[in-house]
């Protein structure tokens, strides 16, 4: 089976989908959507996804968006016994809790700090950084209790959160005041097959683009 993935390479949520598909052995047919050129607002794309965002998948006519819903779906459908998304209701609920934490707290706080710097060339805002660090502190607290964010095994929550946090490499941001996060990130990156090709390369490209926009 091949699933179409509409994506943009450096986008965090898109990278999360690619990493999960790779781990469970689902082939993706990548379809690039140039967001800078507004391709997501073309009628063909809007017909699929009126919310005009990537990632969006087309699995034999079933269209789905929202990265975290996509990765849950991929495991439910193609790797139902995988420990990436445990079946035990309590373990599963903890993974879900962290996916919502990623979306609503961590990635949100990160975006508010990150986007004005990369897209508007603004200076880092200390208040935004402090909110971001509060969110990182919660994550650090989790990792003091268990070796992965939702327990003792790699789950969808680790992948979603690594996809989010790795975005900060574009700014050379270091997580040095969060030793658990730093060690956990290094470990997870090692564990994901083809991590570099799916993440480092597009992020390097994005970083070069950000640099090229900066007034010299």
């Amino acid at each position: 089976m091949t699933i179409d993935l509409y994506h943009m390479a450096p986008s965090g949520p898109c990278r999360a989908v690619r990493m999960v598909a790779k781990i469970i052995g689902v082939d993706l047919n990548l379809k690039n959507v140039d967001l800078m050129a507004g391709e997501q607002n073309k009628p063909e794309f809007l017909k699929m996804n009126p919310q005009h965002c990537v990632p969006t998948i087309d699995d034999d006519g079933f269209i789905l968006w929202e990265s975290r819903a996509i990765i849950q779906y991929l495991v439910n459908k193609y790797a139902p016994d995988s420990s990436l998304y445990p079946k035990d209701p309590r373990q599963r609920a903890v993974v879900d809790r962290l996916l919502y934490f990623d979306m609503g707290t961590l990635f949100k706080a990160q975006g508010e700090y990150f986007y004005p710097q990369v897209f508007k060339g603004q200076d880092p805002d200390p208040e935004k950084e402090s909110n971001y660090k509060t969110a990182l502190g919660y994550l650090e607290g989790n990792l003091e209790k268990s070796s992965y964010v939702a327990g003792d095994k790699l789950t969808l929550a680790d992948i979603s959160i690594v996809a989010s946090l790795s975005m900060m490499e574009v700014l050379d941001y270091k997580f040095s005041s969060f030793p658990k996060i730093s060690a956990w990130m290094a470990k997870v990156k090692e564990e994901i097959p083809d991590y570099k090709a799916m993440n480092d390369e597009p992020l390097q490209g994005f970083k070069a683009w950000v640099k090229s926009k900066k007034p010299q």
């Binding site: 009126p50 919310q51 079933f62 789905l64 968006w65 929202e66 975290r68 819903a69 996509i70 849950q72 779906y73 439910n76 459908k77 209701p89 309590r90 599963r92 609920a93 903890v94 879900d96 809790r97 996916l99 919502y100 934490f101 979306m103 609503g104 707290t105 949100k108 919660y138 607290g141």
Partner: protein, 217 residues
């Protein structure tokens, strides 16, 4: 099934709390309600932080299993105590659409509602035109989904309806009108009538919240 009562830490006006309350009503799960006055910082007390270090309500304690994040709570409750295969369907595609709508609620719709509403409600600010535009855009997405289907995730009522219902009705606290969204209006009217627990678990909670708001001013 005999379900032992679940501790439910809540604040009445809070939309995510009302969502959990309605889902418990839908599934006939007994709740032991524990009021946490977040306007007075009760969520920062050490006993509560021990349960949930991120100090948010809703939080539940189900015989020692402590969980927060409303949408994780409601899918957990539906998975464990569901009475049918409709409310949180096991069919993978159907479930994925429900999950997609829960993320839409959290990241787009409810986010836009709070961004717009909080400054008006707590700081008496004038409505911000930019934030209102974002909110109207998200409501338009919902209007579109409800044009295609009678419920937010398809032909049947699911947990996503109750999460979004709790979010959208938060707007009642600032008397925001949805009259330019006929499908949303119709869906709201329908749910108000259809859900036997609506009055007690959503409307009364909002009224109580409004009362508290007026006393705060």
């Amino acid at each position: 099934m005999n379900i032992s009562p679940i501790d439910f830490y809540y604040f009445p006006l809070s939309a995510p709390c009302r969502a959990v309350d309605m889902v418990a009503g839908h599934l006939d799960i007994p709740l032991k309600k524990k009021f946490v006055n977040t306007w007075q910082g009760e969520q920062l007390k050490s006993e509560f932080l021990k349960l949930n270090p991120t100090h948010t309500v809703p939080t539940i304690n189900d015989s020692g299993f402590v969980l927060w994040e409303s949408r994780a709570i409601i899918t957990y409750l539906a998975d464990l105590y569901g009475k049918d295969d409709v409310f949180y369907p096991s069919n993978r595609r159907k479930r994925a659409v429900v999950d997609r709508m829960l993320y839409f609620d959290m990241g787009s719709l409810y986010r836009a509602i709070i961004d717009f509403q909080i400054p008006i409600m707590f700081r008496g600010e004038e409505p911000d035109a930019g934030k209102e535009r974002v909110l109207l855009e998200k409501l338009a997405f919902l209007e579109q989904f409800l044009t295609d289907y009678p419920y937010v995730a398809g032909e049947n009522l699911t947990v996503a309806d109750l999460s979004i219902l709790a979010s959208v009705t938060f707007l009642e606290a600032i008397d925001f009108t949805l009259s330019s969204f006929p499908k949303i209006e119709a869906w709201l009217q329908r749910l108000r009538k259809e859900l036997p627990y609506y009055q007690e678990r959503n409307q009364d909670a909002i009224e109580e919240g409004k009362r508290m708001l007026s006393e705060r001013k």
